[in-house]
C-alpha cells in the first residue's frame, strides 16, 4: 500500500469501517512511513478532540416551550359550520326585521308630513327595501341549496327555511300593510 492509498483509508479507519486486510497493510505502512504517521497522528488528535466533547443537555423547559408554541390547527368542524350558519341566519334576521321597522317608521313620519318630495323619497326607500328583500330571499334560497349539498345541511336548510319565512312575513306584514293603510 502506498501513501495516497493509505491516506484515502484513514477516515474509514477512524470510523471502524476499514476491512481487516486493509487494516494490516495500513499498519505496516504507517510503521515505515514517518510522513503518513504524522498525518495519522493529526487525524487521531481531531478524532479524540471531537469524541471527548460532551453531549449537551437541552434546557429543562424546552419541551414545554415547544408545546406552548404549538397550537392545534383550526379544524373545520360540524360545530364551526353550525356557528357560521347561526351567525349568518342571525344577520339575515336583523336585516329582515330591524331594518324594515326603522324604514316603516321613517315612511310613517314622511306620510305624516304630507310633503310630495318626502313621499317620493319614501317610495324610493320602499323600492330599495324590496330589492333588499329579494336579496335576502336569494340568500335563503342559497342556504336551502346548501342544505342539500353540505354536511351540515340540516342546520343550514332549517335556517334557510326560517329566513325565507321571515322575509315573506316581513313583506306581508311590514311592507304591504302600510301602503294599504296610507292608501
Amino acid at each position: 500500500m502506498h501513501c495516497p492509498e493509505v491516506r484515502e483509508r484513514l477516515s474509514l479507519k477512524l470510523d471502524g469501517r476499514l476491512p481487516e486486510a486493509d487494516e494490516r497493510a495500513l499498519q505496516v505502512h504507517l510503521k515505515d512511513c514517518p510522513a503518513c504517521m504524522e498525518v495519522w497522528r493529526r487525524w487521531r488528535a481531531i478524532d479524540e478532540l471531537f469524541a471527548a466533547a460532551p453531549t449537551l443537555q437541552p434546557p429543562e423547559d424546552l419541551t414545554a416551550r415547544i408545546l406552548a408554541r404549538i397550537r392545534p390547527e383550526p379544524q373545520p368542524s360540524a360545530l364551526g359550520a353550525t356557528v357560521l350558519v347561526l351567525g349568518f341566519g342571525l344577520a339575515l334576521w336583523v336585516a329582515a326585521l330591524v331594518l324594515p321597522l326603522l324604514v316603516t317608521l321613517c315612511l310613517a313620519v314622511m306620510a305624516g308630513g304630507q310633503s310630495p318630495w318626502l313621499l317620493a323619497a319614501g317610495a324610493s326607500v320602499g323600492a330599495s327595501l324590496l330589492r333588499l328583500a329579494a336579496a335576502v330571499a336569494e340568500a335563503g334560497r342559497l342556504l336551502l341549496w346548501g342544505a342539500v349539498h353540505s354536511p351540515s345541511g340540516l342546520v343550514a336548510g332549517a335556517y334557510g327555511l326560517v329566513t325565507i319565512g321571515a322575509v315573506v312575513a316581513w313583506l306581508r306584514v311590514v311592507v304591504f300593510r302600510p301602503h294599504q293603510a296610507w292608501g
Binding site: 493529526r42 478524532d47 466533547a53 449537551l56 437541552p58 424546552l62 419541551t63 404549538i70
Partner: protein
C-alpha cells in the same frame, strides 16, 4: 419502534401529550446537532423549537419507511444549514460568537472549567472552518452517532458521498490543526488564567 408509531398516530390526531413524548425523545439529538452546527446555546434552542414546530406541521407527510429520528434530524439539519447560509450573507461569522456560548459544566472547578472552555473553543473554531455540508457530516458522526447508511438516507445522498465528505472534512481540519497545536494547551491555559485574574 411500535410505541413510536403509536405516538406519531396519536400526535396526528391532535394528542399534544403524544407529541410532547416525541419531543422528549429527540430534543437531545436535535439540540446537540444545532449547538454544534450554530455554535451558541440560544441559537441551538431556537433551532430546536423551530425544528419541532416543523415536525408537528409536517407530521402528516412523514414517510413511515424512514426512521423517525432520521426524519427529525433531516429537518433540523436543513434548518441549521439555512441559518448558516443566511448568517454568511449577513457577514456574521462564528468568530463573533461570545465566549459565554461555549459549553462548560457550571459545577466544574475554575481551572478544569477553563481547560474545558479552551477545548470547546478549539472545537468550535475548527468546526467554524468547515463549509456547512462538511460540518454537518462530522456533527452527525460524532454527536448524533449516525452510521454512513443513516447519514446517506438522511441527507438523501449515497454512502460514498458521505464517506467522501467525512474524509474531506477531516483532511481540512488536519491541515489547520498543526499550526494550532504548535501552541501548547498549557500555555493557552496560562494565558486564559492570567486573563481571568485580570478581569
Amino acid at each position: 419502534m411500535d410505541g413510536e408509531r403509536v405516538l406519531v398516530e396519536r400526535a396526528l390526531s391532535g394528542d399534544q401529550d403524544a407529541f410532547g413524548a416525541l419531543v422528549q425523545a429527540y430534543q437531545g439529538a436535535v439540540y446537540n446537532l444545532a449547538y454544534r452546527m450554530l455554535g451558541t446555546a440560544a441559537e441551538a434552542e431556537e433551532a430546536a423549537q423551530e425544528t419541532f414546530i416543523r415536525v408537528y406541521r409536517r407530521l402528516s407527510t412523514y414517510d413511515r419507511q424512514l426512521k423517525l429520528s432520521s426524519w427529525v434530524l433531516a429537518i433540523a439539519s436543513h434548518y441549521c444549514v439555512d441559518r448558516l447560509r443566511r448568517r454568511r450573507l449577513t457577514w456574521l461569522s462564528l468568530d463573533s460568537v461570545p465566549d459565554a456560548a461555549v459549553a462548560v459544566e457550571p459545577s466544574e472547578a475554575p481551572e478544569a472549567g477553563l481547560l474545558q472552555r479552551e477545548k470547546e473553543r478549539e472545537l468550535h473554531d475548527l468546526l467554524g472552518l468547515l463549509p456547512e455540508a462538511y460540518r454537518l457530516v462530522l456533527v452527525l458522526r460524532y454527536w448524533n452517532d449516525l452510521s454512513y447508511e443513516e447519514m446517506a438516507q438522511m441527507l438523501d445522498t449515497s454512502e460514498s458521498a458521505v464517506k467522501s465528505r467525512l474524509h474531506r472534512a477531516r483532511e481540512m481540519l488536519a491541515a489547520h490543526l498543526a499550526p494550532r497545536r504548535a501552541r501548547p494547551t498549557s500555555e493557552r491555559l496560562e494565558r486564559s488564567l492570567a486573563g481571568h485574574a485580570l478581569s
